[in-house]
Symmetry: C2
Subunit: 209 residues, 2 copies
């Protein structure tokens, strides 16, 4: 259901970073530049607004064969008909998500330790979002940085793909890939750049997948 | 699935009104006093927190045969295994909620007009929450007051039960019942009182069901 190749460059599309640019345009340029999977993250929108955002995003991603993931909100993911849901440690328990989502969604889980990553794999996670690798200001609840060594330990401990997240930039992307991850997830490294397409293309070239 | 009798006195348990009191204690006293249905409303809790709150509330309500409803968050409702979900005009569309919830949950819908109430009934709502009947400060997004006449029009226009909400107090509860509603929903009229049990009991006596 989830093609590991798509994980190489993973965009967390948090609308607080859109800076007045349109969601549709951002996704078109990011995908054109090499983004293989998109996650929507909305912490202030109403449920109806988040649903409308997810529907609009899906029209773009589906036409380009790129999976769309909703952060936290399993109900929005199911209602909008996206491809996956991503849950962190302050979201619904993975077991409940799996029970409700059934085979309709793949499920990603955030993990900052080997223990959490193994537990998520055992409970049926389809991939791990591991981090924050480096200190980051893009995500309030990212937690303490785990570093590249811990990241490599997580990759070695599970069979499901691991995506690195947190503080990843053009400068450190190649070294992060060495830890054995399937890809890198970014917010600012793409969304804080003036040219979305070029930012994505340069990152994609640097990670070499 | 939803017994109309339970709707007579409907408590919207918004934790911003708990004033340091424990959820479990509030629900026990409210139900003892005559509350027949409880809705949980959390706008700042994380999904995990809301889920834990719903699980804790369910332990109280289930043991007393009182249905538990989650506001807005269909995913929390399904994960926690409560009885119903309530959606307003800024929440997920009713059609999507019905499709996902299937027969697992009853569904309440907020409506402020006859048109919205009829649409909700046609789309499968199990009850209408009609209001705000009077001006209220308990609910930020309650909208403009509709008054008792409009409330009576809504009651006359649909076959499903209607619960009045918004600005309902011990003083006006009896006159609201005259509009043809199945019951009244309150926040402050119970939660802003020092004695939850007595507040519920007095309201229950006043509405005469």
């Amino acid at each position: 259901m989830l093609d590991q190749q798509s994980l190489a460059l993973y965009l967390c599309a948090d609308s607080t970073f859109f800076a007045g640019r349109k969601l549709e345009r951002i996704l078109e340029e990011a995908i054109e530049g090499g983004v293989g999977i998109v996650q929507l993250r909305e912490k202030t929108a109403s449920s109806r607004e988040f649903y409308e955002i997810a529907r609009a995003a899906l029209a773009i991603t589906k036409a380009r064969g790129v999976p769309l993931v909703v952060n936290d909100r399993l109900d929005i993911a199911l209602a909008a008909g996206v491809d996956g849901v991503h849950v962190g440690q302050t979201d619904l328990p993975l077991s409940a998500v799996k029970r409700i989502a059934g085979s309709k969604l793949f499920v990603g889980v955030s993990a900052g330790t080997v223990t959490d990553a193994i537990a998520a794999e055992n409970d049926g996670a389809d991939y791990i979002g591991a981090g924050a690798v480096f200190p980051t200001t893009s995500k309030d609840d990212a937690g303490k940085a785990i570093g590249v060594e811990r990241l490599a330990e997580i990759c070695a401990a599970v069979r499901i793909p691991v995506v690195a997240i947190g503080g990843i930039s053009l400068d450190n992307a190649a070294s992060v890939m060495q830890a054995g991850v399937a890809g890198v997830a970014v917010i600012s490294a793409i969304l804080s750049q003036p040219d979305i397409f070029t930012a994505a293309r340069n990152l994609k070239a640097r990670i070499g997948r």
